[in-house]
Amino acid sequence: MQTVTQKDLWPGVHFTAVHTTKFKSSVMSVTLMTQLDRETAGANALVPCVLRRGTADHPDMESLSAALDELYGGSIEPVVRKKGETQCVGLVSSFLDDAYALNGERILEPAAALLGEVLLRPYTADGAFCPDYTAGERANLIDRIRGQINDKRVYATKRLIQEMCRDERFGTDKLGDEETVAAVTPQSLWARYQELLRTAEVHVYYCGSAEPERAEAALRSALAALPVSGDREEPGCEIRCGAAFDEPRVVEESLDVSQGKLAMGFRTGGQSCWDGKDYPALVMMNTIFGGTALSKLFLNVREKLSLCYYASSALEKMKGIVLVSSGIEFDKYETARDEILAQLEAIRRGEIEDWELEGARRILIGGHLTALDDQGRQEEFWLGQAAAGLSTTVEELCAQFEHVTREQVAAAAQRLELDTIYFLKGKEA
């Protein structure tokens, strides 16, 4: 069985250690959490990418890769995530567990040290980030931002969020935008990096076979150069109770595609992950609506009416919005939209069969428990909890799902309000 230990390493620097012997690897991450803001999002996203280019001791990618190979092909990846209106930038690493080292050597301590080195001792030039690395990663990040159009399913959801939350922080993409990224210089990025180290809330994570005390010691030592600060921020998240207008906004765009994408954004009427005992009902509602292959959207819109290849819904638990995503033929727009809304109406009326309710419950519980079998998913879960300031465990959440009733699910659905529709169609449609 695994155990979870949580404590603060320093003020505003939280540590979560998951002790388990069932994996062949250990996962460590350090994440800087800051308020999502259009002005700083691009620079924040760029920071871990530039850090990953080289350190004082390993000044280029070749020497850094060589060091990782020596640690049995460990990985340290720059990662940018968005949890509600908190932007999370940092490094996620995975290393072979000590038990599988060929010569019985320790991997955890040197691995933690390398992780800390990448975060805190970058390769510099003239007291700032090296101009080459900054320019290279700036170009890469701009390519990534432009590349978001390549996957039309993801793109449609991104555009929906942009339109729906255009005057909220949430409307900013986790990678920032092209304009602010292009304006970054080695000096401005250095200033942003220093600011983050000083003021961001920090989440440090370990999962593996080492005792929590040993992992803590390794990471404390690796992160000792982190500035000690008494006033690290606690990012918040604005939740809007209802839609901005009486009629939903409709945004249509054309691209050179053969399949249309219909994305619909709903406000949850203020319901969020902070609602204690009501939150599990909100999650169940989303699961029944479009969360699984048993859901109303999947069974009716896809299977029964063959209206689309996929139709699903996702809950943004901190922001209090539900996003529906579907792939349809261009001329099925009205039919698909009306059917999606009809399915929501059915939930509001409490038209939920026993097998739908129990199936959703079993899938939710099973889905949560299997996160315990995957180090990456478990890291993601605990980062989400850290961003929300919650410490509920996977097992505790599962226990809450056991008690959700049909009436609670219907009540959660009744508070949903359609805010914005985004429709991506073809050029000739």
């Binding site: 020596e70 640690l71 092909g73 050179d256 349809i328 199936g359 099973g366 428990l369 315990l372 079998d373």
Partner: protein, 426 residues
């Protein structure tokens, strides 16, 4: 059941061949929450021409995938929903060479396993249900045809291969699937879904004997005939076309660079070739290689660069893919690096590092039940055991990798596929 221990990988595997020819593998994992079952047939998108009962049959592109969609239909309804109602997450995929059905669940594992074995072994479709699926699969084909990553890879296959059916899309086209009927599906199920042509791999907190008992109870007691496959005339060693290009709505050019290899032998030689192929990629342009560092510095590749070895019956190749403002420059740089390695050999220190790094990364990959079970299923069809890799790995020589690069990474065996930004087909 026979118990095999793989000391280096720290794994135990149980194996049994049942009376009906099905081979069962079980990896007991008492510490895990979930059980995972993978039930696969040695039949995929490329197995379009086969002989059954003495007669050769040519089936339309996309049959294996169509069949996969329809297998979830049961007399009582739909197995997908039946499993989901039990809290299981079921799914399936069709690749070029295999079709696999799987689920994971934290509750009622044995009951779910029986459902899986039953719906995959008992076909149930009607002309109406087959007709209805055509719309859904047509939508899926539309979606993948809009995917630049899929197009750039599919185009590469037609540039590398002259006859081999890996050239043909696994899902087929809207046109090719228009010829598929319930009779086609029944015929293909009979040809390839016999237990003797299948494998069951399970990992999780399970009792190996209980897995075998479920298989004996649900599946037919005896082995039936297995179809003989045909992949057309032998492939020439050269690529068909050096360059293939297309325009789509993408932000910057994406590419796949392929090197046509020799078709793998059966058995552990095929594992050996796979490991050598992977190491060849690492040495040539892996994240620790001097070439990668230079290409990255020059902005010719980014962190999304991916590379690897693919091998299946009748074909094998190395491929490298990603985004680049100048894919031709990447191709030329790889060719130049291959010539340099032929001249100078691989740096011994780099070789040792890459061996250590690749070993650790592969071992970490064994955390995943999916990697373990799908990997073992594919290995079994190719004639070896997945967890033998650490032992074979220890025997690999630098010279063998140099030799593979010298033979495969040559101009005649190279093809480049590019999707460039701009108005496309629609």
């Amino acid at each position: 059941m026979e118990k095999l221990t793989f000391a280096r990988a720290g794994e135990t595997m149980y194996r049994e061949r049942l009376e009906n020819g099905l081979t069962v593998f079980v990896f007991p994992k008492p510490e895990f929450q979930k059980g995972y079952a993978f039930f696969a047939t040695n039949y995929g998108g490329m197995d379009m021409r086969f002989r059954l009962d003495g007669a050769w049959q040519d089936t339309p592109a996309g049959v294996a995938h169509y069949l996969e969609h329809k297998m979830f239909d049961t007399k009582e309804g739909n197995a997908l929903q039946l499993l989901a109602a039990n809290g299981a997450s079921p799914n399936a995929f069709t690749s070029n060479d295999i079709t696999g059905y799987y689920f994971e669940s934290t509750e009622k594992f044995e009951e779910n396993l029986r459902i899986l074995l039953s719906f995959v072994s008992v076909p149930y479709f009607t002309p109406e249900s087959v007709e209805k699926e055509r719309g859904i699969i047509g939508q899926e084909i539309g979606m993948i045809e809009d995917d630049p990553e899929w197009r750039v890879f599919t185009n590469l296959m037609s540039a590398l291969y002259l006859h081999h059916p890996i050239r043909v899309s696994v899902a087929g086209s809207v046109e090719s699937i228009s010829h598929i009927t319930a009779d086609t599906l029944y015929a293909c199920h009979r040809a390839f879904y016999d237990p003797a042509n299948m494998v069951l791999c399970v990992a999780g907190p399970v009792d190996p004997e209980a897995v075998c008992a479920a298989a004996r109870e649900i599946l037919p007691p005896q082995a039936g005939p297995i179809a003989e496959k045909d992949y057309g005339p032998a492939e020439p060693p050269q690529a068909v076309r050096a360059l293939t290009e297309e325009h789509m709505e993408v932000s910057s050019p994406i590419f796949q660079l392929g090197f046509k290899g020799d078709a793998p032998a059966r058995g552990e030689d095929s594992l050996r070739q796979e490991l050598l192929g992977e190491l060849a990629c690492e040495v040539l342009l892996g994240s620790s290689s001097p070439l990668y560092a230079r290409l990255y510095r020059e902005g010719l590749v980014n962190r999304d660069l991916s590379y690897g070895y693919e091998g299946m019956a009748g074909c094998a190749f190395l491929c490298v893919g990603g985004e680049s403002k100048d894919p031709e420059a990447v191709r030329d740089a790889v060719a130049a690096e291959a010539r340099r390695l032929a001249r100078e050999g691989v740096d011994p220190a780099l070789w040792e590092r890459i061996r250590k790094g690749t070993y650790g990364a592969k071992m970490r990959g064994m955390n995943s039940f999916e990697n373990l079970c799908v990997g073992q299923a594919k290995s079994f069809f190719a004639g070896w055991d997945l967890l033998r890799f650490p032992d074979l790995f220890a025997e690999l020589k630098k010279e063998d990798v140099e030799d593979l690069i010298a033979r495969w990474v040559t101009p005649e065996r190279t093809a480049l596929s590019v999707v460039r930004p701009g108005e496309g087909k629609a």
